[in-house]
């Protein structure tokens, strides 16, 4: 096979030649970096590798996750491995799922200009502006739903002219929703009570004593619940 042409990219101001099929992350390793910051799950889930880049002479700033974005010729890139975002101290069990609560913890919430810079910055393509609008209305369930796929990379916050901490507001709303607003699960609460009352102790002890042959027989004879 022919060796593919290498392309030039610029990592934090230094020029390197790398194969064009690589992700930004693998291109940095190809260039010789041992990544310490800016590398986590390598699969688009953890938000460690938020990257800002520009192409050639284009003024437009672009964003991406280094583990998911393929390099392009004349890419100028830098990573945002950590950002000094504020997170107030709170104990979830002492909070209420209300707008007043959000404002008490994040008084800057109402400074949001709805400019949409956050939405443009989101590598998950979330409509961050939209969930911030829901937060300003105190619609915690909507924030929880619309922000659910957030990986907390912090690019929204890094780019926000109003100094909002969108992703921290979002996780607060999701936790408030999960604890206070989501419908409770009756079958779960009942099962936990049964376990705590020791209702399964004897049967489990019997299974632990069971010879492997008997276990195998029972396993192979299980009836499988239909789809």
């Amino acid at each position: 096979m022919d060796k593919p042409e290498l392309i030039p990219i610029h990592i934090m101001g230094k020029r390197y030649l790398v194969p064009p099929s690589l992700t930004i992350q693998k291109a940095m390793e190809y260039a010789g970096y041992t990544l310490v910051r800016g590398c986590g799950c390598r699969g688009g889930f953890c938000g460690a590798c938020a990257t800002v880049y520009r192409l050639g002479s284009d003024y437009k700033l672009r964003i991406g996750l280094a583990c998911q974005t393929v390099v392009e010729p004349e890419m100028y890139l830098a990573q945002i491995p950590s950002f000094p975002a504020r997170r107030p101290q709170y104990r979830l069990e002492e909070l209420k799922p209300t707008l007043g609560q959000l404002l008490a913890l994040y008084p800057e919430l109402m400074r949001c200009l709805s400019c949409g810079t956050c939405t443009k910055a989101c590598p998950q393509n979330l409509d961050v502006r939209d969930y911030m609008a829901a937060a300003m209305r105190g619609d915690i369930a909507a924030v929880a739903d619309k922000s659910f796929d957030c990986i907390m990379c912090g690019l929204c916050t890094a780019r926000c002219p109003a100094e909002e901490v969108q992703y921290n507001i979002a996780i607060l709303c999701r936790r408030l929703y999960g604890r206070y607003l989501a419908p409770r699960s009756r079958h779960l609460i009942e099962r936990v009570a049964e376990v705590e009352a020791g209702q399964y102790d004897e049967a489990l002890a019997a299974m632990k004593r069971m010879p492997v042959e008997e276990l195998r027989k029972q396993y192979n004879a299980r009836d499988i619940e239909p789809e």
Binding site: L35, A48, Q89, R175, A182, S185, L204, M207, D223
Partner: protein, 537 residues
């Protein structure tokens, strides 16, 4: 990059056979067929990929070559002069690792009165927990029971699991779901609160709880936020542990960390230590791609082994049947088992089924390897990799339009980044290194054979036997994180520590020399060696 012309012919066959296949169920393997398949095609059975360990508590046991080299390696602190009298951090409980098990352990230890330090190699939450997509098992439905869950775990693990550990796993499961919910985890539910649960490979009841296909991420970010809510838990990021510390009586008494940025060593004195360092997929056993996060290098196994902890089931790894095989940029990336749980079939180059889609992971993987390697019915990609189809478009046909987008948003997004629409086109997959089935042998409270040392999560061994079921690792990290954290805090109340020592590092080196080992790569590994050095041979 949509599928290239070379793959289009096979793609057309997948579409052509789909209407017929919607009404077909491929038969499950019989127990004897399954045994035969595993023996012939599962990577655990490739003798040349394993060898005996030559020194330490598991001397004579077999493990993959890559892990054996690290377990036998010299300490990174051998020959380093450290003033252990200067203690940088003094704590009750030191938790090594900031994933699901580490955070759960820290929270429970704090609740039981301990001052806690979490030391983690990367960021808090950079862990395989974050990447788990499909779900978490718990027998909380009326038609289910902890006994049925027990049966599934034992059968899936080959009946060699530690029964006491399995019992604790299934008994704690419903309580763990409730605990997570009270911390704010958003599980998928019906409007009346009933949990929306599905099957996983090897389950007899639909007991897989999910949070879309970000289940692990949802649990991890919630646990992380809770850790940050508790001032009695201090967190040190980018500070991996390199070696455990003992005191002169031989009990565990802390660890030596290294600040990855300044390279400074840090001495932590701790009354108890919880190792929650996760797995070792980044060792790339047998050259397999992996689903694991960057830090999964088995550091905790190495450190525990050096102070005399015994490892169990370290000759068995889990290969997830469906890692991405195309496009090249995401090869090895996890394609969640939930795709098969929702009804997608697995197909060869002719668009035909060759295995029941929800066999246990070991069998499903072996069947795919057989289809490609022995029968030659894989689909070849332009880079030369081979895989089989996972027919995701079936899901919307079975459950209604919009199901894939609603249930699998992470998968849709991952593939859309490369212009593949999985609601309309199948994914190409091949087994990928996913999970370390074994680890440090533990008791139901997370304790080990070494005094003051606890282990939880993927770094431990015995819960899953020789094969873990989907949805039991998220469960494992929380169940055993909580158990180990609680036990470590209680034990810390009794411990009196003497003078700190690294004498075991000297002893280890003597034992290595006595076993005829001279050189070797210093371990733990800490970071995978991915950097290309153009001028090095």
């Amino acid at each position: 990059m949509p599928y290239p012309p070379s793959m289009q012919e096979s793609l057309a066959l997948v579409e052509a056979t789909r209407p017929q296949r919607l009404h077909e169920t491929f038969p499950m393997l019989s127990p004897s067929e399954k045994q035969d398949l595993l023996r012939r095609f599962h990577p655990d059975y490739i003798q040349a990929a394993m060898r005996e360990i030559r020194v330490g508590p598991n001397k004579g046991d077999r493990t993959p070559l890559e892990l054996a080299a690290l377990l036998e390696g010299p300490s990174r602190l051998y020959g380093v002069r450290l003033d252990l009298g200067r203690v940088d951090y003094d704590t009750d409980v030191l938790v090594i690792g900031g994933g699901g098990a580490g955070c759960s352990a820290a929270i429970l230890a704090e609740e039981h009165g301990a001052k806690v330090l979490i030391a983690t190699k990367l960021r808090l939450g950079d862990a395989n927990t974050m990447m788990a997509q499909g779900g978490i098992q718990a027998a909380d439905k009326p038609n289910d029971s902890p006994m049925l869950h027990y049966l599934d775990v034992m059968g899936g693990g080959g009946y060699v699991n530690d029964p006491d550990l399995v019992e604790a796993l299934v008994r704690d499961a419903p309580g763990v779901i409730l605990w997570l919910e009270n911390l704010g985890v958003m599980f998928d539910k019906e409007p009346d609160g009933t949990m929306r649960t599905i099957h996983g490979g090897g389950t007899c009841r639909r007991r897989m709880h999910s949070a879309r296909d970000y289940t692990g991420a949802e649990i991890m970010r919630t646990l992380r936020d809770e850790v940050r809510s508790r001032p009695a838990i201090e967190v040190l990021e980018f500070s991996p542990a390199l070696e455990l510390l003992l005191d002169e009586s031989g009990q565990v008494a802390g660890a030596v960390l290294q600040n990855l940025e300044t390279e400074e060593y840090l001495v932590v004195r701790a009354k108890t230590v919880v190792i929650a360092t996760g797995g070792s997929g980044r060792l790339h056993y047998q050259g397999f791609a992996t689903t694991n996060h960057y830090g999964a290098t088995g550091d905790g196994l190495v450190m525990a082994y050096r102070v005399g902890a015994r490892l169990s089931f370290i000759d068995t790894m889990q290969y997830h049947p469906t890692g991405a095989a195309y496009p090249e940029q995401i090869v090895g990336l996890l394609v969640t088992e939930k795709v098969r749980g929702l009804g997608a079939q697995v197909l060869n180059v002719q668009g035909k089924q060759f295995v029941f889609p929800r066999e246990t992971r070991d069998a499903e993987s072996a069947a795919i390897i057989r289809e490609v390697k022995e029968r030659g019915l894989g689909v070849r990609t332009p880079s030369g990799m081979e895989g089989v189809w996972l027919d995701s478009p079936m899901i919307d046909i079975i459950h209604g339009p919009g199901t894939v987008q609603r249930e699998l948003p992470a998968m849709v997004r991952q593939f859309a980044r490369f212009n593949i629409d999985i609601t309309k086109e199948p994914m190409l997959v091949y087994p990928t290194l996913h999970y370390q089935n074994g680890g440090v042998a533990i008791r139901p409270d997370g304790s080990t054979g070494v005094l003051n040392l606890f282990v939880a999560g993927e770094a431990s061994g015995g819960v899953h036997g020789r094969n873990r079921l989907m949805g039991n690792s998220l469960l494992d990290v929380v169940v055993y994180g909580r158990r180990a954290g609680r036990a470590a805090a209680e034990r810390a109340k009794e411990v009196r520590l003497g003078r700190l020592t690294l004498a075991h590092v000297e002893e280890w080196e003597r034992a290595r020399r006595n076993a005829g080992l001279e050189d070797g790569m210093p371990s733990p590994l800490v970071l995978p060696r991915y950097a290309r050095r153009a001028r090095e041979a």
